[in-house]
Symmetry: D2
Subunit: 284 residues, 4 copies
């Protein structure tokens, strides 16, 4: 879970077709560049035969040069990034529920979020006082009287210029259109209140109650153009029993929703999440 004792200054991220000698070749570039490797993870996905690598480095590094040198070693279709580790810029979208937002605001206030929280955007007004308490900009984009396209257009006009790395749906209860999602490929993260793929869609706690499950969960995933079908990043579950009403399930679920969401942001901030088909590779 850690690049401890201190975080790396740079991370190298590689996603390329597998072939012999990759680790040796890539670490050779890093060695010659004087990089001080503090952590290293590799994985070859058996199904796609792609190689994934994340290397944390301390100290100074000529990132563009290292990146170019590594890219030159690899076949076409390889993705290479050497990134200075700076907090990821996020905009948080919410509707009316406060628990995930409050958690992010508190972590942000105490320097534990890891992300740079640019703004909170909502289709409602009720969470404005909460954001205000923590001096985080709050923007409401009401949907009344607007078509979905018009509403999303206003959202886009608002958040686009903020230039976030990720849009974080922290209980944003409107479905985003494929058109909107396409503008933010793998850059929208959602917390869904079930252990997907169980209970896709609306009111998962009511669904869970009527199905009589003995376990409920929360899932953080990238948003794709298929509802609740995007790559899963993190899931957590808790046991249930027959005495839980849907309201009790929702209450119990809120604790894991916020935990899953903030841990997911930590993974994204530290560049530990790779995409592979509709799955994720997590180097933690």
């Amino acid at each position: 879970m850690s690049d401890s004792p201190q975080s790396p200054d740079f991370v190298l991220l590689v996603d390329c077709p597998d072939r012999p000698g990759l680790v040796h070749a890539i670490t050779g570039v890093l060695f010659r560049a004087g990089a001080n490797v503090t952590s290293n993870h590799e994985f070859v996905d058996a199904e796609t035969q792609r190689f994934f690598m994340r290397t944390g480095c301390g100290g100074a590094l000529d990132a563009p040069a290292v990146s170019a040198e590594i890219e030159a070693l690899l076949p076409a279709g390889s993705l290479v990034q050497v990134r200075r580790v700076v907090p990821r810029r996020i905009v948080v979208l919410v509707s009316k529920e406060h628990h995930c937002l409050a958690d992010l605001l508190v972590r942000n206030a105490y320097g534990e979020l890891g992300s740079e929280l640019l703004a909170v955007v909502s289709n409602h007004e009720n969470l404005r006082p909460l954001a205000d308490k923590f001096s985080v900009p709050f923007h409401s984009v009401p949907q009344e009287g607007l078509t979905r396209e018009e509403h999303e257009q206003r959202l886009q006009e608002l958040v686009g210029p903020m230039n976030p790395d990720y849009l974080v749906l922290a209980k944003y209860m409107r479905i985003l259109s494929p058109g909107f999602v396409a503008r933010w490929p793998h850059r929208i993260v959602n917390i869904h209140h079930s252990f997907l793929p169980a209970f896709v869609g609306a009111k998962p706690y009511h669904q869970a109650f009527h199905r009589g499950v003995k376990v409920i969960g929360a899932t953080a995933h990238f948003v794709s153009d298929q509802l609740d079908e995007g790559p899963i990043i993190m899931q957590q579950v808790i046991p249930m029993d027959h005495s839980y009403t849907p309201r009790d399930l929702a209450r119990a679920g809120r604790d894991i929703e916020r935990t899953v969401l903030s841990n997911t942001l930590k993974l994204l901030n530290e560049d530990r999440v790779f995409l592979c088909a509709n799955r994720t590779i997590i180097f933690d």
Copy 2:
């Protein structure tokens, strides 16, 4: 989880419409009958407004008389049982996988199963030596050359006369027809290798791999005429990561499958499971 320090000699089971004074009235009958109550659970389901009660009693008891007296107090549509606590009679159905069966056989051999294991029945031959090791009768009913109906007819002819309380599907990989299921209402228990309702049907571990879930599970449920839709009795999950192949998922899943199945049999043996709509009430 216990009627400890010793198990009760009798259990009273009540499932009836709720109304004031039920606990007082029912415990009055028990008190006058000289029953020594060792444990007591009640629950009112808010949705159906039904009252459920399980009371463990030590000592001697005129079970039919107590049962009749309680029944006389309750409205029509009430279910009352006063049962001497004796092991439930089970027949275990398997296909080719050994892990759940082996677990049941070992527990049975050491007096820890709680059930009376009448026989093992399979549509294959390969597990016969395992049952033989533990001197439990093994019957194979091959399906080759038979229609589903013919095969199930032979199964029924074999297991019917054994007079089991429950048929336990311990990785029995054929789907039972609604006609067969109807003969054993809420008396067939299945262990399914996913956290239902995720991954209904065949090859759940392959489905789980391709969906990229971070948690897998096992579910024990009563079999209904809808595939994998019957009331859930128990579920357990374990965390996963991207490095698990479907084969690894299956391996990890086997440990929870057998644990969930044997714990479910314990609940059934101790009459801790009530049905309520398509849900279960579990008094543990």
Copy 3:
């Protein structure tokens, strides 16, 4: 977990020597008083042979009369309470860590705490702005230049007149003297950052790191005059691996500390916690 769909108006709490007929006798009093029983739990502790009962009732009730009538039925040494369900009054004691306090403040602000949060008291100043954000009174009682006895005397003078039901130690990092604890018998609740009895005392995450455990936990318990030895109310654990530094352990632990603490307050507010020797009986 619930008296749902609505909470009870009254709860009856009984803790007495076991003997036959208790449930019948007690529920008879409730029935004749016209109480509408909405939930009922009983347990007999095998070791102490004491009987514990919690009954939730809706509607109006002459609480003192019912209590007296039940008490008259029971032997000496019985504890009977019939309490109108109103939020428990709490004072929260903190030192410098914000995460548990922030969680309580957010829940309080949104009506989800269940307790009546009277004030926050600290031996430091740094959390004052956090309490201020949520308009909860904050009092600091610095310890500099004071003996333990003097400091505790000031604490007592501050919190005594507030008349709280419980003092909640939400990462209060000073050990309270037996004299202070004796003034609040079973009315001080602490969140300890380990799965007690492992890692008693200071710096449990450092202890956990050096012992190389693969699981860490948090424990909510009543404070007794033996350090970290009081009755345990709730525990939760999370898996660890070798890559976690003490700082990572602390970070991961914070999420379960606050969850365990707020769930413990829920249990206390709903009068679900009974004491039995140095153990707790939890009716959830």
Copy 4:
């Protein structure tokens, strides 16, 4: 959890002082030797500044040559192994409890153990029929009339010539003397029925009951000359409540004991466990 789709033919294991360029240098040797790397894990322990690496390779390899070449690159005090992946040879020591042994025997019978199970050794006779069922050699070494030293001498004379890699204490209830342990440094694995360091020593379930914990656990660890103080390999826990007697705790605990033990053997068979101070590094 996997070197899948197929297991590696060789593993390289390195434990040495950290310094820049290690991964590049070591993978260079492998590359030049034509090794087909199928998995790779590295970790630097911040406290000891030691570097750990496990690399799985497919295909043919001149193991001694590769090992020598890598060793030549590294400073004194480095440990290098290039091992053909063959099952680890184990002798299982038991006393009277059957559940862990039965689990190992079943897995062994179906080719799922991973280890080569040489023999079962006990200080009692009662488990002989169980071992016999699965045609595994069983030896009893009764302790009656013998001093601890004499008994351990007979054990040593029995198991020494079998030349096992590990002695596996699968509920062996005698404490081994430091002298015996010193003969098998980090080669004795024990399953302890608590989440160590809680409840060291005898009767942990009784200790757990009296302490009133809400979670119990099992711990697999290497045996050192300090009772229950050796490096922890794996731990698992399950929730408890007040209704569990010590007997119930023991029953519930058996399921996790056997799971933890068999998963630990899998880690050892695959050479995924490194020692670091009194901790373990687990590459899974």
